[in-house]
Amino acid sequence: MDFINAIILLLNYIFIPALTYGSQLALGAIFVTLIYGILRFANFATGDMMSFGTMATILFTWYFQSLGVSLGVLPTALLAIPFGIIFMILYMLLIDKFVFKYYRHQKSPPVQFAMVSIGVMFITQAVVRIIIGPGDRRFFDGEKFIIKAREFKEMTGLNEGLALKSTQVITIFVTIVLVSLLFWFLNRTKTGKSMKAYSDNEDLALLSGIDPKKIVLVTWIIAGILATIGGALYGLDKSFKPFTYFNNMLPIFAAAIVGGIGNPFGAFLGGYVIAFSEILLTYAYKKFFMYILPESMEPNSLVQLLSTDYKFAVSFSILVIVLIYRPSGIFKGKVL
């Protein structure tokens, strides 16, 4: 019984939260990696673009709520996400037309692109804050829990409860669907294959008649979908605050690079690597050992490797280690 309790404890506090957080990071990381692979620059506006998409979603959610439209037990935001995506894509294409296109035609070095993306970051941040303000916004409605901790305890008679939030399930489910669709698109369709070819060797791709304009357009569309959904899921699960989204850019970068930048599958797994290591290293295992070990060996301290304050630092340290020892990432991406 104690053993099951210990397992449930880990499931409740480590596995499910890490899986959720990892999914949110993974979506962002694929976004970064796509932009990097095809448009060839590190996009410092990642976090803020995600917050723009989320903002659009929130505005539509409020609109639907005011109309009285809802999905019952599911959050209304799910209905608003497609509209948010459209806005996000329009914004991205606008930015691309007025900002990035010029540098692409100039064939500027990646550093210059990165600088320009910082300008975009400033502007996006301003736009988001002017429209919706810098405060904390919760836009979740519908049923909050699928399984409540107390109900679970009563059901199974265990000491440890297992709480399953509906946002967690939605996040994981949506991520799986979206990512499988994306990989199907990249590996099976003609456009997806030409995108890969363009990413591998631009000149060769152009020579074989691939239209670069179309590739760029499709890339931004996919990026818009990923950014909005990733951002909205994070906002549903926690809450929406522009500053947090800006900060999330860093673990997202870490995930993309750890997985091997330019490699969407690597980025997908990289998100989970980062999320799990963050949570595994900062969780206090005291209770876990209390279940597992006999009473005489129970630990006195919290058995915590690092304090939770260092959550971000963990992912960054992993990134630094990966950059030193395996700069192309765990799954070979572009060699840096």
Partner: protein, 442 residues
């Protein structure tokens, strides 16, 4: 400069001087970043971390040591420091002694992990004891109780030391990866400063640091200062007939004058630093060393083929630039008189500085200073300017209009918009900055 004078005339001299001081500090930071980016083409997004380290130096130098805390946990902390030193030495020894192999890598990893665990366990009682000492006021080890001016040098050393480690680790990376790596490392530094309370008090902040300039309160009771203010304003004062009124007016002037005077003291100190740095960096730019840096920047392989040690020079310039940023960090804390680890955010301390570098003109020291002044001025005055513009354009709309009210409420965020637009326009139409790099060969 003219703009700052205008602020002085229209708003108040106090505000004008504080903007001016921060402009000077920004100029120092920008010069540091400019050395790395303009001279050598190294991209460093870790400016925030070096600034914070400079600030930490200010705290560690100027605060009086907390004797009780040292007694409570000083020994444990010193032991842990020794452990770290021993660990580093052992790893160095292994690296030198043995050939590269899997066993070596694993054993080093094992040493690091066990070392961290050992340090955690040995330092924990000490840390807890220190943080328990009067947590509302101290709860940390304190510093050395020296004049805060010294911290400007120590801040440079701290930042240079960090830059040495970062440079060793990350300088081999391609440009945009270097940017990300330095950004993330600076976040780690901030995390450590924020949460190691025994060293920095963390988010509890350190307030009331010593000053290199006199205190306003002392000035207001000093005879020579009152006489000075009286002489300065004799025209204004002589108009007032009533003796009591005159005394009251004088007191008011003394209070105002004292804070202006203190700010002027800071300005003088900062100006000296800026001028010294400017002379040194200009000398460096036109020296054979500066020529070599430009050669490395423009064509690494050719410079390497000419027998220049690219790796070493990159590391050197990375350390120098970061050290200058460290000075700026210490100056900033000196001016504020308080150290707030929570206020170090990448937006303000990394990206804004980069806007200054790009806008001012990379590779040109005067450009860097100009960028520091212009961008900081706009950053501060963006809110009043945009408020004015909003009022101007929505003049026909009544006050109660929701859109107008909303816009006026979000006035502080227009500064981001202004910065972003400024950066994009400069990058597009004047990619070398306002004052582009100019190299005259004499």
């Amino acid at each position: 400069m003219v703009l700052i004078l205008m602020v002085g005339i229209f708003q108040s001299w106090n505000i004008a001087l504080s903007i001016f001081n921060l402009c000077l500090i920004s100029a120092v930071m920008t010069m540091g970043a400019n050395i790395q980016w303009g001279y050598a083409g190294l991209i460093n997004f870790g400016i925030m971390g070096y600034t914070a380290l400079g600030g930490l130096a200010a705290v560690l130098i100027s605060v009086d040591p907390v004797q009780e805390a040292w007694r409570a946990g000083g020994f444990d902390i010193l032991m842990s420091l020794w452990l770290i030193v021993v660990m580093v030495l052992v790893i160095r020894f292994i690296l030198k002694r043995f050939e590269k192999s899997k066993i070596r890598t694993y054993s080093i990893a094992a040493i690091i992990i066990s070392g961290i665990l050992l340090i955690r366990f040995s330092a924990e009682p000490g840390i807890e004891a220190i943080e328990a000492v009067d947590p509302a006021k101290t709860g940390f080890l304190g510093g050395f109780g020296l004049p805060i001016i010294f911290s400007w040098i120590v801040g440079a050393l701290f930042a240079g030391g960090l830059a040495f480690i970062v440079g060793k680790v990350a300088l081999g990376l391609r440009a945009d990866y270097l940017a990300i790596a330095t950004l993330l490392i600076s976040e780690i530094v901030i995390a450590i400063i924020k949460h190691e309370d025994w060293l920095t008090r963390g988010v509890k902040n350190v307030i009331g640091l010593k000053r290199p300039a006199p205190y306003e309160v002392d000035l207001q009771t000093t005879d020579w200062f009152i006489n000075l203010v009286e002489k300065f304003n004799s025209g204004k004062l002589s108009v007032i007939e009533n003796l009591a009124d005159r005394q009251a007016a004088l007191n008011q002037l003394v209070i105002e004058g004292s804070s202006v005077f203190v700010k002027l003291c800071y300005s003088g100190l900062f100006l000296v630093v800026v001028i010294i740095l400017l002379i040194l960096t200009q000398k460096a730019l036109y020296s054979p060393w500066g020529r070599m840096m430009r050669a490395i920047r423009d064509n690494e392989e050719a410079a390497n083929a000419m027998g220049k040690n690219v790796v070493k020079q990159h590391l050197l310039i990375f350390i120098l630039g970061s050290a200058i940023v460290g000075i700026a960090g210490a100056m900033l804390v000196t001016q504020d008189g308080l150290f707030t680890p929570g206020s170090y955010r990448p937006m303000r301390y990394t990206f804004l500085i980069w806007v200054m570098v790009i806008v001012g003109g990379s590779g040109n020291n005067f450009g860097a200073i100009l960028g520091g002044f212009v961008v900081w001025f706009l950053w501060i005055e963006a809110a009043p300017i945009s408020l004015f513009l909003i009022n101007f354009f929505t003049a026909g709309i009544p006050e109660t209009n929701a859109l107008k009210a909303h816009l006026i409420e979000s006035v502080p965020y227009f500064r981001f918009l202004l910065m972003g637009l400024g950066l994009l326009f400069i990058m597009r139409y004047r990619p070398k900055g306002i004052l582009p790099e100019k190299i005259e060969i004499k």
